[in-house]
Symmetry: C2
Subunit: 352 residues, 2 copies
């Protein structure tokens, strides 16, 4: 069973874990940013970490590719790592995804732990066992399901993050709150991520990661319940792709926040999701995430993008909907008219 | 649980399995030899198989590399495969190793079945879940443990194999007989693989693969019992590497057959393995596998090669030994003097 540690002493925790692991050599993977902004500071804090051999890859999702992967394998090989060695992936989702994949395949699997350095990474990528790289122009096209033996989560490491990054990660936490129930949701909506209350954020994060972990442990390979984590993502991915096509990319979490509102409108229409809660969420999203640049003219392209979602097995568009906070309805579908109606209501709610 | 099918109607079996699998597209992987010698004949036999999309990679272990792997991923992507698609790996260990790895990682894992076309592949590579590629000059440096959902084993497909290939695979079967016990061993030593009695060979193969499967199911990740499958391989790999260095490579199974005899001598010295059985094995090996070109002058290099075996965690040389057929002693070690003595006795037994 994977160990999750929530701490504001990352350096000390890593020193203890490396000591206990009794691994045959320890390696850290970072990108060019997290090497400087996070790893070097951890080493300053606890000089024992200087004994860990550092592997650096270029930052950015476009470098989550086969070249970086073979670089990591070569470095591990050159430094004599074996299947009893330990790798620490220190970075955002890009680093934990590619590092988890490299470790899962080197010598048919060495040990690895994740140290997420972004809120989105902590709540989403670092936990749940999805590893991989982009390939042939498609995201996460190649990879394996394999969980880190431990994930060390801290909110202090977020202090260098831009505000937008914090909100982006927080959207996934709001999603987890919706899956969990009214109380968890209320605690989340009462907090504003830019308040920089890192102790409070750490405790909210612990609850939120717990939701994801329970879902994943019941359905690691996404055959059923895990699809609930797609709430907001069918529409969210379409918003994200449309913004990219228009040359004005938006952070993943912003697109997900808007997607959540649209899918809650659909939930209201199809499953009777309560309108007061829908209103509360849409107000929170409008206040903190603003509104997407979407008009009626964009509907045909948005529908096309939803049809291309890789979770669709056939011509229907699939959604995860909610009857109420905490009451999930998997494998729902909606026709194009319903989706356009939901988009209209969404634009009203968001005053677009 | 993995399905093992032993049949002499491979084409019919594949048609049935593809039909039952209800996969989202079926793909076959073959190398340039097995595409021609095996896959095309299967399609001639059952034209329905023509609907399966064929991916071909260059033959030979030197092509079990990252270039062939990315070629397979690209082909799958280009032809629209997804995680609900099925891949059939049709070939020797090279094809089932790389094909299993490609399928295990494409979209984080699609379905795959193995159709081994060599005796060594059938008894060794196709079953047990080890997949991977060579990397940075080292064999099987990168890969995952993941079992094919079915393995379809036939001896008819061996009819185009050279005699040496049959003996090479048979050495692994003799190893399984030694792990299983006296009766299984006797049945194997009474048969000569070149007799071309394919029905008899199929039934011996079924028993032999069953031994491997039981061992692997008890210890899939090689933490304990699975090490018993290394019998003969510590010394065998050293013979194989030495022959390669001298420019006279020998087939893997030949080196293993000689390695088995040396390790049974060690088993006799350390664990009282019965001398009459040792003599029976060494006679069988000398008769069918001949003798390696090894003199006292080669001992230092052979010892060095044994020290480099990747299963060694420290300076000691590890062996799997036997107290008797069917009675395994894992994690044994021997010092250099003992090994040299065993080599002397081996050379006497083999009349070198």
């Amino acid at each position: 069973m994977q160990t999750l540690v929530f701490t504001n002493d990352v350096a000390g925790e890593l020193v203890r874990r490396i000591d206990e692991a009794q691994a045959y050599g320890t390696y850290a993977l970072a990108d060019s940013n997290t090497a400087r902004l996070v790893w070097n500071r951890l080493v300053e804090c606890r000089p024992e970490l200087g004994a860990v051999k550092l592997i650096v890859i270029p930052a950015g999702d476009m470098n989550k590719n086969i070249d970086s992967l073979t670089h990591i394998w070569s470095e591990l090989q050159g430094m004599g790592a074996n299947r009893h060695s330990l790798m620490l992936n220190v970075g955002g989702g890009m680093v934990t995804d590619i590092g988890g994949f490299a470790a899962s395949t080197f010598k048919r699997g060495m040990r690895f732990m994740n140290v997420p350095t972004t809120l989105l990474g902590a709540v989403d990528a670092a936990v749940g066992g999805k590893t991989g790289i982009n390939f042939g122009g498609l995201k996460n096209e190649v990879g394996v399901f394999n969980e880190a033996e431990a994930v060390v989560i801290s909110t202090c490491v977020f202090s260098s993050l831009p505000q937008m990054e914090l909100y982006s990660g927080y959207a996934e936490m709001v999603k987890h709150g919706l899956l969990e129930g009214n109380e968890a949701l209320s605690r989340l909506l009462e907090y504003d991520p830019v308040s920089a209350d890192y102790d409070r954020l750490l405790s909210l994060l612990e609850e939120s990661v717990g939701v994801k972990r329970r879902v994943v442990s019941e359905d690691p390979f996404e055959k059923g319940l895990r699809k609930s984590l797609n709430l907001g993502h069918t529409v969210g991915h379409a918003f994200e792709s449309l913004a990219m096509e228009k040359g004005c990319p938006v952070p993943h979490g912003y697109a997900v926040a808007w997607g959540i509102v649209v899918e809650l409108v659909l939930s209201h229409m199809q499953k009777g999701f309560p309108s007061d809660c829908l209103r509360r969420i849409s107000d929170y999203v409008r206040l903190h995430y603003g509104t997407p640049a979407v008009g009626c003219n964009d509907y045909p392209r948005l529908l096309e993008l939803m049809h291309h979602d890789k979770k669709n097995l056939d011509a229907r568009i699939n959604f995860t909907l909610l009857e109420a906070p905490g009451v999930v309805a998997l494998d729902c579908t909606a026709d194009e008219n319903e989706i356009m109606t939901a988009m209209d209501i969404f634009r009203d709610l968001m005053s677009i």
